[in-house]
Amino acid sequence: MSPSRTLPEEPAIRSGSEVTESSGPSLLTLGVDFRTAPLELRERVAMTPSEAEELQLRLMASDEIAEALVLSTCNRTEVYLRPEDDETAFRLALELTFGRRAPEIVEQGRHFVLHDREAARRLLTVAAGLESMVLGEPEILGQVKQAGDVAASLGSTGPILRQLVRTALHTGRRARKETEIGVGAISLGYAVVELGRHIFNRLEDRRALIIGAGETGGLAATALSERGVRELSFANRGDARAETFLQRFPQARRIPFEERYEHLAVNDLLVVATAAEEPLFERSDLERVVQQRKSRPLLIVDLGVPRNVDSEAGELENLFLHDIDSLRGLIERNLDRRRAEVAQVEAIVGNELRRFLDWYRGLEAEPLVAQLQRRAEKIRRREVENVAKSFPPELHDDLHRLTRSLVRRLLHHPSHQLRRGDEETGREHLDLVRRLFQLDEDSES
């Protein structure tokens, strides 16, 4: 394991380059994300799965790289390496990943480079959603898993990066389970779903009606379809947009625009997103709809600007009317809630990083522990053979059992402690044990 260091000519964009001495594995991470590079550059280095595979194979073709993992999503392209030689690995990865596709990234230093412990931490914070443009977004966890699976299938990850991916996935799952980092909708479409979930017992049993087949209506339809509403209907005055909408959502049923009130009596959720200048739903008409529905609540989300629903309809009993400002307020509140969870997630990341480093130290201690046990066994066997003649042959087996048990018991606790290691003193302890038991001489002999 080599101590981490800052590479020559390395652009000091991230605090990660200010690495301290650590007792973790030698790792190198370089990448771009929305913080370091604009969309125009990120687009150019974003990779399809086959391109990512090819990059991993090319990286692994170098003798200076022992393990490699490529994570490429719409907002990030990151390469995780276990280098045999830091500098060569860095230059090769920089050239293959960014240099050929977007040399400006290298020239302008629009990438980040992290070493060892910070490099490992990066994958954990990515999986936890802390590095996402939309804080706590859930998709990244699946993307990390997929990247890990691809790398494993190519054979480009070894024990260290495989364990790092496992730790990152565990960290991501813990963050979402133990904190509210992924709680609450933060897009218009999902805000509609969230409101529905707070009103209706099971959204899966509900019918939704969308008025307006434009982009905003499509956002709501996507979220509602993903959350599996029982039935999705829509109305649109123009045919061209309606056709496009039907192509996107083939399960949706088109209803005549003029029959919107009749259909509202059987739908529980209405999303209105048109460019109409006049309200499409008047209070008096909605009052009749509410009466027909008896005690069943009705959620209306008006995403139109100007508003498509008479705002006075919000006074009707059991009718919940929300406009775009209301949804924005909800999204902002949810983002605040997520931001408040960052410290808690950081603590989880720290905890899991420590476990990863402990695991690594255990890995490092294993050969020494095996050596220690071999040496002890050699001494035991020699001593038993020396005294065996003094004992009757029928006691020889007992003698072996007794001495083996003694040696095992004596070494149990020290072996356990060496495997567990300690961040501060782990390496010192390994050296001390090596010296005390003359294990270097032993291995040489």
Binding site: E180, L195, H198, I199, F200, S295, N318, D323, R333
Partner: protein, 274 residues
């Protein structure tokens, strides 16, 4: 035994308060100080409270509802038990704070209104009177739980209506679930109270045929029974919706508490002999 029974109401009050604090912190911050021990602690308190009531029955040789304090203690127990079962059934802990606050409030009344000596009443030897008390207390406990869900329903309804989201939003079950719990509580309470009224009327007819007209508690109970019955009927017919039913449940609980405390303390009645 008697000494232990004397301090038990206060101990139970402390335990309900502790649980209320734990569930309150969970509700407002999302993290329970007792962590995974919260629910087992709730059940431990429910079992202890049940043992206390069994102990009282054994010590006094009668159903432990001979005083207003004991009746409130049974109410606290019933509310905690109903909530415990609901939490086990639905897995929702968000409403726990509000239900356990009710249980703690009832137990506080049980401690405050406690009389030094518990009288023996021969009326408790009548099985019909026992049935009457059981049904009445079950009804009151169900109304208390319904009022708790009614309160939560009104809070969430208000936030969803106004589009101003506070701590209630995102933590409570869906509005329809709260409404179902509210109506369920009212229905069970109404049936139980009906049973309590019928059994009480038969028992009273045997002992004091003309007594009920002068008993304010009976009159108030009849009024609340009518209120709950009307609200359930109006809801059934579709004239009332969740909000009105929730308001009725809260109004009913206030009337019940007033009838239990004020009438018993200030007026003489058949129930005042308790």
């Amino acid at each position: 035994m008697i000494n232990l029974l004397d301090i038990a109401p206060l101990l139970l009050l402390l335990l309900y308060t502790l649980l209320g604090v734990d569930y309150g912190v969970l509700f407002f911050t999302g993290r329970s100080p007792l962590r995974r021990f919260g629910t087992p602690t709730l059940w431990m308190v429910i079992v202890l409270h049940g043992l206390y009531l069994v102990g009282l029955t054994a010590a006094w040789g009668q159903f432990p509802a001979a005083t207003v304090a004991q009746a409130f203690s049974i109410l606290a127990f019933a509310v905690a038990l109903i909530y415990g079962l609901l939490e086990r059934w639905g897995g929702d802990r968000a409403s726990g704070f509000w239900m356990l606050c009710q249980a703690a409030a009832f137990q506080t009344l049980a401690v405050v209104l406690r009389s030094p000596v518990t009288p023996h009443h021969e009326i408790f030897e009548s099985p019909l009177f026992g049935i009457h008390v059981f049904f009445a207390l079950l009804g009151y406990a169900s109304f208390a739980v319904a009022a708790g869900y009614g309160f939560l329903f009104l809070r969430l309804y208000r936030e969803l209506k106004r589009g101003r989201f506070t701590v209630f939003y995102g933590k409570l079950p869906a509005l329809e679930v709260l409404e179902r719990m509210l109506v369920g509580g009212l229905t069970v309470g109404f049936i139980a109270l009906s049973g309590g009224l019928v059994s009480g009327a038969i028992w009273l007819a045997q002992r004091r045929p003309d007594g009920w007209m002068s008993d304010p508690t009976i009159l108030v109970t009849l009024a609340t029974w009518t209120l709950y019955g009307t609200s359930l009927l109006l809801r059934r017919l579709g004239h009332w919706q969740g909000r009105q039913t929730a308001i009725a449940s809260l109004a009913g609980l206030v009337i019940i508490l007033a009838s239990l405390v004020l009438v018993q303390l200030l007026l003489s009645s058949v129930h005042g002999t308790l």
